[in-house]
């Protein structure tokens, strides 16, 4: 089954593409998809999405169908066909 992955801001600069469709297996979680993406885009993506910045801000926020995964099941959130996962680095505006 397929899910949509969207990359915003500096994450998009690493992937070189704004969004992809990804084939996943039934029961795959956000964490599994992140491992697949790290394999596909390399160490630069891994470094940009792991841990926190100097100010203690998480380097990545992940939405699944519009909801921050922390309000779902975190990295254990299971994905299903047609789901949209969005990777957001620390940004803000107003």
């Amino acid at each position: 089954m397929k899910v949509h992955i969207k990359f915003l801001a500096t994450i998009r600069e690493i992937t070189g593409e704004p969004e992809i469709e990804l084939e996943i297996h039934s029961g795959d979680t956000v964490e599994a998809v992140m491992r697949t993406l790290e394999h596909r885009y390399g160490i630069e993506l891994k470094e940009a999405t792991t841990g926190t910045t100097a100010g203690g801000i998480p380097k990545i926020r992940i939405l699944v169908n519009g909801r921050d995964m922390e309000f779902l099941s975190g990295l254990e959130t299971e994905l299903k066909a047609g789901d949209v996962m969005v990777l957001i680095p620390p940004v803000a505006g107003g």
Binding site: K6, L8, A9, T10, R12, P18, T53, A54, G55, I57, P58, K59, R61, L63, N65, G66, R67, D68, E70, F71, V84, V86, I88, P89, P90, V91, A92, G93, G94
Partner: protein, 607 residues
Amino acid sequence: MPGGYTGKILEVDLDSGELKDSPLDEEMAKMYLGGKGLGLKLVYDEFRSDMQPFDPDNLLIFATGPATGQKFPTSGRYHIVCSKSPQTGTVGSGNSGGKWGPFLKFAGYDAVIVRGISKEPVYLSIVDGKAELVPAPELWGMTVHAVTDELTERSENLKKTSVACIGPAGENLVPFSGIMNDKYRTAGRTGLGAVMGSKKLKAVVVSGSQRVEPANRELMEDRAIESMKRIRENPITGPKGGLHTYGTAVLVNILNESGAYPTRNFQEAYFPDADEQSGETLVKKYLTGRGGCWGCPIVCGRKSDVPDGPYSVRDTEGPEYETIFAFGSDCGITELDALIKANHLCDELGLDTISMGGTIACAMELVEKGKIPPEKLHGMNLRFGDPGSMIEAIWRTAYRAGIGADLALGSRALAEKYGAPECSIAVKGMELPAYDPRPIQGIGLNYATANRGGDHVYGYTISPEVLGLPEKLDPYSVEDKPRWTILLQDLTSAINSSVVCLFTSFALGLPEYSGMLAAVTGFDLDADKLLKLGERITNLERLMNNMYGLDRNEDVLPKRLTEEPIPAGPAKGQISHVPEMIDEYYRLRGWVDGKPTEGKLKELGII
């Protein structure tokens, strides 16, 4: 006089032409700091509950704060207040960056109070402590950029001169016209430009070299260095951070993917083509450079250029996120070049982009629903998704030409006139900003309760609810949102009275702000005392609105947002729960039915 202040206020009477210096009241400075707080207190001291927006004694006050012009990051800002807004019927209020604020201080003043109505158009010149009113009939009718160039060229020191002015929209009393400074910076909201226009005051030119000493220079510089370090190391505000790289428009995709990007006059909350008008696309297609306000290390401003095509415009600035939403998704329009053009026109004509876009979106819905008949449009094809008609609507509004006379009413009166008040997406008559409150509960509460009407920056709960700063709150939940809304509203009152940029709050907190202000002024301030000061300012503004007759009946969202669930997209089915939160908000505030109690006002030292 405490550090950070010149100790002088310039009073301008346009009826008599008299100019005089008044001393800044030290106790007032201690209680209300400067900027917004000082402006509100000066209005309160001459308050009249039957004030009308274009009465001569509707005060127009330009106010700096103790931080303005100091060597503290983002201290290039100032605040403008008027006694009564022509748009909302509340006290009017707006904040702006650029360099005008510090240059007023260098010209020798903490604030300027303007009263009266001039018989003929004038501008006010303040150069190194010398103020004069200059007849200027030849400037009346000029656009913002033209009059800014003209008055800058007349000055003796071009590089140290800054111009705040109105455009044709302010002259024509459009109730959502702004006061522009340095061409592209705007105190945009609540129709301050119309109040300035009613006074026949075209511009205020400031220039000077009078630096103001902080109370403790060494301590202030230490604290400035510490804050600068935090700002530079922060991934959002730092030199390679999100704000610098993408500008505020980086929010387009984030809000859209959250299902909270208002579309087609808030009828929807997801815009399929959002990426084409995003900050990422702006950088790729139209960005030519970046620019910042005086003393700002963040540099979030955009320089943009559309070299050809139907919406070509050369070497302009912007657009910001709010503007992209207002003329873009909210009008069902995708084309980013048209949005850049629309932004440029508003800067030239002196219009608030949020209210202009929201009013056009309202009109588009009224046309779609057959409420505005075709004969009223004189051939104009005012429909969602039509960039040409959107741009035409802007200049028509500024000049009240044809249907523009109706658009210049603002969405509330426009929708009422055509028998569909539900099509106005506004609070207290001010059109809502770029966050659909149905899936973001806190921002809805802020829209409903913000003293100046439908506002996002007086209590930016988007920060915790959408951006996860300083901690993540579930945007769908109402839990603890009244407390957060109050905290952010009072913090912002303090920031707007300091005056520094709200964007520093992504990296700094109350301890940094209070530490800096204590070093600049010498006042006994800490985090708690500064927050209390902010609460005092929020309550004073609320008190005056109450005296104008506003109460809980005006603290409401449009029915669309509390009764009509989002029809599609990531946040499908969500509605705003403001009615469930408002009583808890009042309880925590110490208010009854939207009014501070006598006990609360005494506790805060307001009465």
